[in-house]
Structure formats: structure tokens, C-alpha cells
């Protein structure tokens, strides 16, 4: 069962790489990067449940979700023209 879950999750993680490579604007690429980050958090938790080491993988997943959020926020504030509204 967990092998099927991990197979579909890896497929869902590899699909947005098309959008990262071939996106027309840089915002499309950032949407793809955000989707890949969320799928990576799910995949880390499922891997931890598969190998019965969930407590070890959870800290990595939590840190990665925060890093993904901050990365997308920082890039969108960097690309926004004019004075950034916080």
C-alpha cells in the first residue's frame, strides 16, 4: 500500500517540473516550485511512516514547509514592481 502511495506521490512531484522548465513567465516557474515543495513535504511524511521513523522525518518536513513558504514570499516581493506593500 505504501509503495503505491509513494509511486503516485513521486509522479505528482515530477509533473510540475514541466511548468518550472517551460513556464512562459517567471511567476509560472514560481508556482511550479511551490507545488513541488508541498509535494515534497507530503512525500517526507509518507516515507517516515513507511520506515517507521516518523519522528525523525517530521522535523525535516516542518523545516522544509517553512522554507518553501518563505522562499515563495521572498521571490514574490522581489519581483513586485514599485514599492512593496507589506
Amino acid at each position: 500500500m505504501t509503495t503505491v502511495w509513494m509511486t503516485f506521490l513521486v509522479a505528482a512531484l515530477l509533473l510540475p517540473f514541466y511548468r518550472v522548465i517551460a513556464g512562459p513567465t517567471v511567476f509560472d516557474r514560481m508556482v511550479g516550485v511551490g507545488v513541488i515543495g508541498t509535494k515534497a513535504v507530503i512525500l517526507l511524511c509518507v516515507i517516515g511512516h513507511t520506515y517507521a521513523r516518523l519522528d525523525m522525518f517530521l522535523d525535516i518536513a516542518l523545516a522544509y514547509s517553512m522554507l518553501n513558504f518563505l522562499g515563495v514570499i521572498v521571490v514574490s516581493k522581489y519581483l513586485e514592481p514599485g514599492e512593496p506593500q507589506l
Binding site: 502511495w5 509522479a11 509533473l15 511567476f27 508556482v31 511551490g34 511524511c45 522535523d59 513558504f69 514599485g82
Partner: protein, 102 residues
């Protein structure tokens, strides 16, 4: 019983994740791609991780899983909203069905 509920929630969440990835590829412009990147993606993560918490039982690990769910449910739509506003302010045009640039 909790094994069936947790496995069903994880399977449904992975289904929504695959749907979100297909939507990011297939939808026609940036704003509809933010729709596919936010809603099915967040719902898939919440269902998957709550299902893993149901499978895990009441431990410290399930508390950390609930913390991940809370953080992503707050953070992911906020990040995509900021990205959409940056795209609107820098002049990305929305797609229309007639093919003309609105």
C-alpha cells in the same frame, strides 16, 4: 478501524495531489494555475497528513503532524496570493476564452 479511516484519507489526499499537479500543467494561464496550485494542493496535504496522524495514534508525532497541517493551511494560500499580486502589478494579462488579450 482507524487503519481503514487513515488509509482512505491518505489515498484521497494523494488523489487530490495528483489532480493538482495535472492542473498546474494543463490550465491555460498564470491565474488559473494559481487556483490549481493552491486549493487541491492544500486539501491533498491536509487529507494526507491527517490520515497519517490517524494511523499514528495519539503521540508527539501526531501533534507535530497537526502543526504541519496548521502551518501549511496558513502559509500556502498566503504565498500564492502574494505571487498573484506581484504578477498582476507587473502586468501579466488574464486569459480569456475568445483569445483576445483583455
Amino acid at each position: 478501524m482507524s487503519i481503514w479511516i487513515g488509509s482512505g484519507m491518505v489515498t484521497l489526499g494523494i488523489f487530490f495531489s495528483v489532480i493538482g499537479s495535472i492542473g498546474v500543467i494543463r490550465l491555460p494561464d498564470f491565474y488559473s494555475r494559481t487556483h490549481a496550485a493552491t486549493k487541491p494542493d492544500t486539501l491533498g496535504l491536509m487529507l494526507t497528513i491527517l490520515g497519517l496522524a490517524v494511523l499514528e495514534g495519539i503521540t508527539l508525532s501526531s501533534a507535530k503532524l497537526l502543526l504541519i497541517v496548521l502551518f501549511v493551511a496558513l502559509g500556502n494560500p498566503t504565498a500564492t496570493h502574494a505571487l498573484g499580486r506581484a504578477a498582476l502589478r507587473s502586468g501579466v494579462k488574464p486569459w480569456t476564452s475568445r483569445g483576445d488579450k483583455a
